[in-house]
Symmetry: D2
Subunit: 124 residues, 4 copies
């Protein structure tokens, strides 16, 4: 299971029109042909759908079905993140390395410190 993001990242990359992906048969190639904004709009859209699925999951008392829906929407969000990364010349491993770096330094405390400082500085 562990390398699934890297594996899907590779499949996604291979579907890029520049790599021979066919916009007629591949959703990823189709989306990449439409360009940056079409891909980025999906990030916003899937984030909204994840938020709504989470609200529904809570309202349903975290029922199995509602949680399945939330998992599916989060998968959509991550999947479109992978399409975006590939389209901008990046790999999931870049993001995972960044997460590991933050984690490695201090068990997320670096993250916490950075965030809490930001909270005090920026507010809202």
């Amino acid at each position: 299971m562990s390398d699934i993001l890297n594996q899907i990242g590779e499949v996604v990359e291979s579907r890029a029109p520049a790599k021979g992906g066919d916009p007629e048969t591949s959703y990823v190639a189709h989306l990449m042909t439409k360009g940056d904004d079409a891909i980025l709009k999906k990030i916003g859209e899937e984030a909204s759908e994840t938020i709504m699925a989470a609200k529904d999951a809570r309202a349903a008392g975290l029922s199995v079905d509602a949680q399945k829906k939330l998992v599916a929407e989060t998968a959509d969000l991550w999947f479109h993140s992978l399409v975006m990364l590939a389209h901008f010349g990046l790999k999931p491993a870049d993001v995972l390395a960044e997460l590991a770096r933050r984690e490695g330094l201090s068990g997320l405390d670096e993250f916490a410190a950075r965030r809490m400082q930001a909270s005090e500085k920026n507010g809202g």
Copy 2:
């Protein structure tokens, strides 16, 4: 690198107030104490920041610095997805399994088919 999401998922879970996480010192515990909407708002916020970093990356000709920023914002988005999953009783492995399932069936073609059908049905 591969198990980083699962590892961070475990760290995040251990920071839940119910597991003894301290909102005074842990960002994750702090956010979970604020509740569902505070966490979900972060998903929307980090999605917006990812979109803006991607626009900046393109405008900067995918410079190294701009790509680093995009990686950092995507890491923020995934990190807050992990906080959300933990808060709703789920694990990153659930999402990775869902992605693997889609992938496994047919190299993402199931995903493509599902999406393209949806496109025709729903429009915009």
Copy 3:
């Protein structure tokens, strides 16, 4: 020009399926028939498109064309807000009254005060 939001709000209301709007010929009726999530997803989507149009406008040095695009996206965002309000039993006048109330109290200072307090309390 001034009452345009109220006027469009009325047109939108009249397109509700419950008021006889036809999903085959009216976009508003079509969207309302799809339900809450379809409408709310449009709010998230149009917000993302507004953000992208603003980034493009800045990158284009606020050119006339780029500003036209930003105006069009903001119009989309407001229009879908009107559809949402109608679908949830509200009117644009409710939102305008709320804005007037905040404004009236103290030239937005009430808003400022509330926000700045929130910033200090909540952070990020």
Copy 4:
């Protein structure tokens, strides 16, 4: 009530740091000083909060309190749209004129036609 958007637009403009707005005392000046991304991030954030308030309103059977919350979040979204417009050299009247133009042509049918065409073309 009708001109409230234009009036608030003027107040917002007058709070721009370039017009003498003080970031220490004015929320609008504070936000504008932070720059484009801080303002645009608020659009994404307030859109997410509007979505959540609408989900809550439905779950609460459109209770008066839940509808008040939805009105307040929509007001926040529109208010930050006004800050964005001012920061990018635009006025609410530009957006209202665009909405009136669409409406005037054909009672929103132009909008409907454009959208439905887009649906067929773009899918998802």
